[in-house]
Symmetry: C2
Subunit: 103 residues, 2 copies
């Protein structure tokens, strides 16, 4: 019996995501280099929070969450549905909640 | 002692997110500079997809989606730990060795 786990190479999104996956490790390195620039700010901020709120604050988690949120908000530079459409002019501007924690 | 108030200023996550928001514009610039490195790959890929699939493929949207996906996957460098809220029931246990991820 054959399994149905084949990748759909006819799906534009899937094709692009394969490319994205190939580039991801290198991209991650570059992103991490960027974060190093901001690390001291996040560390300082997390330490301040810990000072103000008490020792049960986990600074490592706060910093990681801030990093994830920064990445989430950076997505707004690449908004969905604002491209040139080939067909009749349709504006499908979807705003996604970016405050959500996509962990 | 932490008081159990719902005022947002006492929320560690909110405090950190204020800091994140301040840094975001500069961070975005750096992220965009990183993407410029990969832009040609995404463009080439999107053009290939368009060639293979037809003219109704919107390369701009494909590229932006790839960028968003790259950012989404970059979050995995900053994994969520357990006990993400600093509340009374929080335990300090941590099952994943991810402390050094943000630095």
């Amino acid at each position: 019996r054959r399994s149905h786990t084949t990748v759909s190479y006819t799906d534009p999104q899937v094709s692009m995501d394969l490319l994205r996956a190939v580039l991801q490790p290198s991209f991650n390195d570059d992103i991490m280099a960027v974060f190093k620039k901001y690390q001291k700010f996040f560390e300082k901020g997390a330490e301040n929070v810990k000072e103000n709120m008490g020792d049960d604050v986990q600074t490592d988690q706060l910093i990681r969450e801030a990093c994830r949120n920064a990445l989430e908000h950076a997505k707004q530079m690449f908004p969905e549905g604002e491209g040139k459409r080939a067909g009749p002019e349709v504006t499908m501007k979807r705003s996604r909640p970016s405050d959500e924690d996509c962990g």
